[in-house]
Symmetry: C2
Subunit: 390 residues, 2 copies
């Protein structure tokens, strides 16, 4: 670490040296042969990472919210009915975006913060019917709640809705098989499990989503995100032809191509298995230290982040001590419980030793604030899971 | 250059080592103290670079087109009348964006490609009246045409229109005094004279623009660019407070702060004078080599790029030879004359030796394709200008 703190927040994460090297490489022209090759390959690799062989990838300068904006603006027309499966702050955000483009939005909300609606509740809502679109937040970064995307996508499809998955805190960390599971559009941002500094919105749209876009009767509400502008560009670069709409973020796309290569080298199954195991290790440590978690039961807890409540008598002051001990974690984000919990991101290149370093720093922080616990209990619990192997 | 080609296109340009180092630095949290300090300082410096002491800066992940989109979406309401002073491809683009958000657009077009409308023509159009907004492309990257922004802004103001300047290929290269000249909003992208790899949309909105935004009766058409989302974030970071809407592009903003520091160290007057002198040197060389330029007279030619027509009997094949000789320039972009001209960008950290290297490479290319000219004539003409000093 050489004096640097370990960054264990739910994005931006720690990036690999190769990715950072690509970020700092002299910028080439956006029509230079080496950049055309990198952009084309990144588009192909994105399709592989999303496991969506017949999907149309989009790589655009912007944040994860821009990816949500692009999905909503291109798929929704004024008056369309949309069902939002809402598990936290980012469900609320999707509602706001969809309404901006004229959608009539209904929501299935979790019964409580930290919970997810059941498949039965979602099916009940879908029966109400006539939904053109259903959106699902795979992992809500604010609560650490993960939903059962496979089952939800099947339901959405069965009731004729296009299924949109906000995978910002999930893609390339959680298991997600876009094609096989019938997800019509999945999206993410670069700075999470994709492993690239923030600045890229990433989407893969399946054939039904592209068809819905082509059949639009009204223009797309926002100009910048209109697929009519971007589709020819993505097609051109994938065919290894230069093209121009807006100047692509050359360095970020170069870094993306490097990271996608590293992700595919690990393999999607191995990668989600690694995220699951490291998550289990951290969650075991959190439990051993006597902390509850925001997700109300293991089945609704994400593998990409952990959201522990502070134990009795401890507040966010403990995080400053953990930072002093070398590890940066994040505070709460959900307005209703903001000061009662914290968040640890464990995505991308994260390793077993990063998990142990994090548990160690949390233990040191807890000790500093006078919390009573058995020293080393968290580390031992994490180690027990890690020793099991995948 | 050590095996690298010199990139002399109108963006992305060559970036300084310090900027590239910031790009490749390990990413920090978007709420880390050092990042908050850098973001806050970048906002302050942006205001200084735009020479707009009472302006509200916005720094957002996206391309230059996103900056145009943000300007249009926040300032225009359905039915508003807008006058576009159109000097090329990017004037056409502003028309498309403005219409997307419901504006009724009138245009003052240049009498010919490579020309700019006169102040009289623009005033005539403004008299038609009732324009809420007037847009001007300071430098049209497609043609190398620059307009008289100061005079146009004064006219727009006189007739009660908000004046929006698309400064994508101009800000921090051409002289532009936003506050003094009465420009209500100016915008650019990072990869031009601002000197940062592509991926950032940059805007400074003056008090009248912010007031027009606050008085809106209808919601902003696009969600992502809505100032209601971004204004609290910019205000918070400038007050050195963390805040969150979308994850900011940490590395790009770090690099931006470095580059803005370098720009201000040079000084805005010295910087635009340097751009003018280097531009004159290249344009003198182009003329000495017997090439006409797209801008029909010196008064409408930009200082940030040069757009020469290929001489008789020469086509874009010459550019490959110039590249072999070490310098990359850009092909044509304006659809009507695309294959008849090329473009040389000279912005940002560009130096006198870069200009000479470029002229030398063009001479070598011209010799390779059998064009008859006096070898060294271009270099001598450039050198004569450069020797004059600022």
């Amino acid at each position: 670490m050489k004096g640097r703190k370990l960054l264990m927040i739910p994005g931006p994460i720690e990036f690999t040296p190769e990715v950072l090297q690509a970020m700092g490489a002299p910028t080439t022209s956006h029509v230079a042969p080496n950049f055309i090759a990198a952009f084309g390959q990144a588009l192909e690799r994105l399709r592989q990472v999303f496991l969506c062989p017949d999907g149309q990838p989009f790589i655009v300068a912007g944040s994860g919210t821009l990816a949500m904006d692009m999905a909503a603006a291109n798929l929704v027309e004024p008056g369309d009915r949309v069902l939002v499966v809402n598990t936290g702050v980012f469900g609320d955000r999707f509602v706001a975006i969809l309404e901006r483009y004229g959608a009539t939005v209904a929501q299935v909300r979790a019964p409580a913060i930290g919970d997810a609606p059941s498949l039965e509740e979602v099916e009940e809502a879908l029966k109400g019917g006539g939904y053109k679109l259903m959106t699902v937040t795979h992992v809500d970064t604010s609560t650490g709640v993960a939903v059962e995307v496979k089952g939800l996508a099947a339901l959405g499809r069965a009731y004729g809705a296009l299924v949109v998955v906000d995978g910002v805190c999930a893609v390339a960390g959680e298991e997600m098989r876009q094609g096989e599971w019938g997800i019509d559009l999945a999206l993410t941002a670069s700075q999470k499990a994709i492993g690239v500094p923030p600045g890229l919105a990433l989407l893969v749209a399946g054939p039904r989503a592209m068809e819905a876009f082509r059949r639009r009767k009204s223009p797309v509400g926002s100009y910048y995100v209109d697929w009519a502008n971007w589709l020819p560009i993505m097609e051109a670069y994938e065919a290894r032809q230069p093209s121009y709409f807006g100047t692509p973020p050359v360095n970020l796309i170069g870094a993306l191509n490097v990271s996608l290569g590293q992700i595919l080298e690990e393999g999607m199954e191995a990668r989600s298995a690694r995220h699951r195991r490291l998550s289990e290790a951290l969650k075991a440590a959190v439990a051993a230290l006597g902390m509850e978690q925001v997700p109300v039961r293991p089945e609704v807890a994400a593998n990409t982040l952990t959201a522990p409540y502070f134990p009795e008598g401890v507040d966010r002051g403990v995080l400053a001590y953990a930072k002093e001990a070398g590890v940066i974690v994040a505070g709460g984000l959900h307005p209703a419980i903001k000061d009662r919990y914290f968040r640890v991101g464990h995505m991308g290149a994260v390793s077993a030793s990063d998990i142990l370093a994090t548990v160690g720093a949390i233990e040191q922080g807890l000790a500093q604030v006078g919390y009573r616990f058995e020293p080393g209990a968290g580390l031992a619990a994490a180690q027990a899971v890690l020793a099991r192997g995948t």
